[in-house]
Symmetry: C2
Subunit: 472 residues, 2 copies
Amino acid sequence: MTRYQHLATLLAERIEQGLYRSGERLPSVRSLSSEHGVSISTVQQAYHILEDSQLISPQPRSGYFVTQRKAQPPVPQLTRPVQRPVEITQWDAVLEQLIAREECDVVAFGSGAPDVTQPTIKPLWRELSRIAQHQEAELLGYDSVYGMRTLREQISRLMLDSGCVATAEDILITNGCHEALSIAIRAVCEPGDIVAVESPSFHGTMQMLRAFGIKVVEIPTDSVTGISVEALELALEQWPIKAVILVSNCNNPLGFIMPEARKRAVLNLAQRFDIAIIEDDVYGELAYEYPRPMTIKSLDLDGRVLLCSSFSKTLAPGLRVGWIVPGRYLDRALHMKYIVTGSTSTFAQMAVAEFIRNGNYHRHLRRMRQHYQRNLDVFTCRVRQYFPCGICVSRPQGGFMMWVELPENIDIVPVCCALREQNIHIAVGSLLSASGKYRNCLRLNYALPVDASIEAALRKTGEALSYVLENA
Amino acid sequence: MTRYQHLATLLAERIEQGLYRSGERLPSVRSLSSEHGVSISTVQQAYHILEDSQLISPQPRSGYFVTQRKAQPPVPQLTRPVQRPVEITQWDAVLEQLIAREECDVVAFGSGAPDVTQPTIKPLWRELSRIAQHQEAELLGYDSVYGMRTLREQISRLMLDSGCVATAEDILITNGCHEALSIAIRAVCEPGDIVAVESPSFHGTMQMLRAFGIKVVEIPTDSVTGISVEALELALEQWPIKAVILVSNCNNPLGFIMPEARKRAVLNLAQRFDIAIIEDDVYGELAYEYPRPMTIKSLDLDGRVLLCSSFSKTLAPGLRVGWIVPGRYLDRALHMKYIVTGSTSTFAQMAVAEFIRNGNYHRHLRRMRQHYQRNLDVFTCRVRQYFPCGICVSRPQGGFMMWVELPENIDIVPVCCALREQNIHIAVGSLLSASGKYRNCLRLNYALPVDASIEAALRKTGEALSYVLENA
């Protein structure tokens, strides 16, 4: 970091902390220069950076002032979903969402895709190239139904970072976290069963439940601390629930990391009511805190947690490489893996294994965590700037998803349609609810670096939301 | 083909046709030389080839004689499975089979793997290398739930060879034929339903049916003409059957190609009883006849046939690239694809698409058809030589699977165990029956070129079968 970048960061922090208040005049260039023992031009460059990020603005012949800004919007309250088992619908809306992501030149705020353009991903291409040049005939043959041992060994090591001890024998490789979740649900549930889910929760998982003829009870969930343990307990007392499905770290869509005490409380409940926990950790390695948060799986002594994950969010979804650690359900999971796809593409598995083995994965993770955290700052700033007052916004602790909530009487489905005509694609919250709630919410993907088109799209989205709020 | 190879082939044909009978003296080298207008040494070389393949044997000072041979074993009779819906078991045996295929230095007669060592597969590696070098970020992102358009377009063209007109929009890419079948079954059936299958039939499909809680009625099947239309009709009259699953071309395990009239008859029955047909065409392009046989799908006007296929048998199973043409079940199949794996590995899809586009796939297919047909000749010869009298052997019309049947009172499960200790792995027929029939049968994979170890393994298998027959 250069001197002027360092100074800019320092000043930005002071502004964030309120040491310089909104509208207040900042120290003169000369006084800052002597205070910090840096040159005049260094201070000027620092002020230019802050000006570019719209934290400060110059006034002719008066110096720099902290920009008049709206206050940070509050976080969403605890959700209040329907408190009984419901059937999942919404497939048509999900399909529309999937098709929208394939359109060209669309700003895909609604997608679940990570940024795959960072330079630290380059070694993955080199591994693929090397594999193609080596021409090992073995890679063309049927892989083990467990997946390649070399990759399972690498994953076993990775999992230690989350406090989880799993050997290569405990791990099955899957076609992304999608297949892992599909296997987990099928390994634990029968058609007609009931499972508990966070509310809101990932639409993909809910569509799986729908296809398997499973009903869900949506549990109230806090945007900072996660699923309500009290509400989960009540639901477990009331309904014959088979399993609870959680994204405990860097939740999709709310962004929270469940505090350790809450993770333990949920595990205790699962033990008391003898149910399984399906833990989706696909965003866990993208937590902004270091070391990464632990999983519920790492606390699990009796094998009731089925951990599902993949390299789709951390590395690249096109690889379709994920895994499941099914605990005591290993035999059933193995059968499911066999009947669903038989095995997983060997090339992608091999490339990922080598990418990890050569230290490139951890390097890439560091980069991506920084990148997403920086993007979150920029998006938060823009949302504050462009989006209307009266909204609530989540404070993601990892990953690249933001949840925006408007007053409950607002329906943003028409806003989505209007924005789509301007090639802006947002995901309406109701996709993430079994009972079609959260039509006043939206999920915002902030994975991509903010360029002019994203900047413009955020502004247009803010305008559309303001319009609907003013005319409600 | 050189002159002496041509002559050897001609003579071998005459022996097969019975123009020269077992034990009969062949024409002298001199007379053949003048008859065919070739040199003495050409005839001598041709005779050496026939001697090497044990068709003829020299007797000192008397010339060459047609080898005294056992007669070609008869083909298996129409199977007679249980005529009522049964639940499928056998998972433990299938799993054992899957694990056996991973062992080192095993002669895997029991596997379903193709030969991936032929030189015509090399361009596939080059495509993979080229893709890795181009580094298109798009390949790292989420693929369409339909699969890559460029591959679907190529498949659409390939399907014309089987008389089937399907556009890219009618095709979904899957993780191998396995996922295609899994999707097809789930798109058509609900738990508790009944489907009709050939008997014997592919154990993978049956395990899927088991996992989905579906019962099967096994229909008597002829090793030359396929499923009995009469028996299928009776079953349809008697039970509320939802679908029939067929490997109509180069059947696994019996090797037949259903005659066109029978394909039409089955389709007519499906129309009359308003059921779906799930057609597994994964071996169809490996038919020894040219042009390749048509599919039932190509006759299907009302979209009731779900065609499932892949590049796993024709190219390489490690790719995990297959497809489904689900006809009128497209919407349901799309949902199933989404909930099972979401999408398919992009690298493998891209490599296959380019491999086809550059004409390498058709070149490879020609090579593999010839290779498997030649291997069939060698295996048939060895089976005749080493295996005991009193067995029946199928006459595969494509693919690389042979079905061997011993008398019904014989149980070859202990033979399998004994052979496995000698690193020879055969698949007992009962794996391919829902009701555990065919313990007197085995399926033999003849994909690999016959080398010394395969030769020895065939001999040992023959000895073990002879032993059990003699001691029955």
